[in-house]
Amino acid sequence: MDALIGYFLYFLSLLSVGGIYALLALGLNVNWGFAGLFNAGIAGFAAVGAYTFSLLTTAESTFHYGGLGLPVVIGEIAAFLIAGIIAAVIGIICIRLRADYLAIATIGIAEIIKLIFKNEAELTNGPRGISKIPRTWEHFSEARYFSSQPLSWFGDSQSWQAFFDSLVNWWWQPLFAMTILFFVFVVYIMLEKARLSPWGRMMTAIRENEVAARAAGKNVTKRRVEAFIIGTMIMGLAGALLAQHLRFIEPTHTFDPSKMTFLVWVMLIAGGSGNNRGAIFGAFLIWFVWSASELFLNGFIDIIGNIFNGMDISMLKNRSGYLRMLLIGLVLQFVLQKYPKGILPERRPAASGE
């Protein structure tokens, strides 16, 4: 029974993190699939969302200004909006850059963002990071929440404490996973609506033939900036959820562009770029492959360790993470050459609108 619960919880965590990546991929799809913008600064924008959320919702700290202890929902909304503001500033100045120049610029900007988070320790606690980030649903079981409104209306601190103690210790996980999937669902529906709307069709027209669109009088630049902002706001939200999942963030390793930015790109390309369904599918697929490969590789290494008794397999296990990254890189090359449109091809909206 315990093993079953173990598998169940593992599956839930796959769904949770997969869902966070799905949001990142959906956001990237707005940038890339809708507007053809090569945004390589995903890690930076996720960091903005994560830090905004954390600084607003963590309890007050002696090391830095804030946290402000605000409700999680406020934190999520703020993450969404602040990411959008930053994107607006960046977008307006960078939007005209050609594809690989935009990639370089956005990577550079993401690094600058991380440097700021690392150095302005008064605001962000610098390299020590922010911990004890409240996790939606689980946060109710923390003293500072159930001893204040609105939970305090339904009982006093002691009875709440007793209640939470009586639950299994993983009671919040299904709820957390469902919350994330709920966000994915809502964002998906809204992006599908956007895709089929006049705005969405204009974006497709611009992507297919920019010259013709400009000649027809469309304000291409403005549309692109809009797509940049919307996609990045979604990434900010994803960052906030990631902060909740990890409960601890710091400026250097949490938002590693090699893992985060690269992985999301692989997800979008493999799943089907230009394609909301493809983004979600690619995210879950690649995340499952990534996680499953960890299990397989570790199991495989254990077997080798058993066969060659006494061999020090800890070094192999240590390096298995890099082997997995290598394999994902090869997956990307394979997909780029053989299936450049991804696994789920794009469904174009019919002229009459579906």
Binding site: A99, E111, L323, Q333, L336
Partner: protein, 316 residues
């Protein structure tokens, strides 16, 4: 004057800036060549530099193992150069060539992927930790110190820095000769101007592309080895760390203008080191934590305000 300002400024800020500038310049040459001739930003370039450094370290350890003493890095780097060029050519053949006629974005994506693949491969083989490249503290070169001291301007420059600066100058001169006096060098400039015209002129563009990987790969390995000699350790993230300053240098100098890349590299190197100097008052101009931000900021500013660079290279 020398005692109060010059000594500190030259020895602890200017010379390090020059050294860093040389390293960035060498790396930026490969980037601007790839940009000019192959027409894409090669994100995997830093990893070639890094691989060159790791291979050189391996050959250094081998020399100790086999011969009982450490060769000089500039000797041990010779086999690394061959291997790194072989890697660059294979990567081009299997991962970039399929996209020659595709939209740029495909090959940029592929180079992104190569960046991760090469780095992960190095991490699997050599491990993720920092490795000491050269042990010990680098003492200032005695000859230079005494010579400059006799002019009342004491230069305390470790030998490794002298090697780096001289090495870069020699490579620059050789490179200049190649581009202006040899057939393949002129062909490289021609393809950089216009690949289509080169084709209908009968120039073998694939041969020029191979030459680009030879030259770019060589400069990358040298840059990586010089960096390793300077900092005295190597780690698998050093490629990415150098990538953005090198992009900045290439764009600053003007894409497709190799001497612009050199100029850009020097500017960025100086800017990074000199930003820590206490120009006004007691503290450094820019806090050291933001040092790596200098190159990024120059990069972003150039892209926005003058993407053609100082020497007016190509704007796409």
């Amino acid at each position: 004057m020398w005692d109060s300002f010059g000594f500190e400024f030259v020895n602890y800020y200017f010379v390090p800036g020059l050294v860093l500038g040389c390293i960035y310049a060498l790396g930026a040459i490969g980037i601007t060549l790839t940009f000019g001739i192959l027409r894409f930003a090669n994100f995997a370039h830093g990893e070639i530099m890094m691989t060159g450094a790791f291979l050189t370290w391996t050959f250094l350890e081998l020399s100790k193992l086999i011969f009982g003493f450490y060769f000089h890095p500039l000797i041990a780097c010779i086999p690394s150069i061959f291997i790194a060029i072989a890697i660059a050519l294979s990567v081009d053949r299997f991962f970039y060539k399929p996209f020659r006629d595709s939209p740029t974005i495909m090959i940029v994506m592929a180079s992104f992927g190569m960046m991760l693949i090469i780095r992960s491969l190095v991490q699997v083989i050599w491990g993720p930790n920092q490795i000491t490249f050269v042990k010990g503290i680098a003492k200032p070169n005695g000859i230079l110190r005494d010579l400059s001291g006799s002019f009342d301007m004491m230069l305390l420059v470790p030998s490794k820095h002298i090697f780096i600066i001289l090495g870069t100058v020699i490579i620059m001169l050789a490179f200049n000769y190649m581009l202006t006096k040899t057939r393949i060098g002129k062909a490289m400039r021609a393809v950089s101007d216009s690949p289509d015209l080169a084709k209908v002129t009968g120039i073998d563009v694939e041969q020029v592309i191979r030459a680009t990987w030879y030259v770019g790969g060589f400069c990358a390995v040298m840059a990586g080895v010089f960096m390793a000699m300077d900092t005295q350790f190597i780690m698998s993230t050093m490629g990415f760390r150098m990538l953005l300053p090198m992009f900045a240098a290439a764009i600053l100098g003007g894409i497709g203008r190799p001497f612009g890349a050199v100029l850009g590299g020097l500017v960025i190197g100086f800017a990074e080191e000199l930003s820590a100097y206490p120009w006004f008052g007691n503290g450094p101009l820019l806090s050291p934590g933001y040092k790596s931000g200098v190159a990024f900021s120059i990069l972003v500013l150039m892209l926005i305000f003058r993407p053609s660079g100082i020497l007016k290279g190509r704007v796409f």
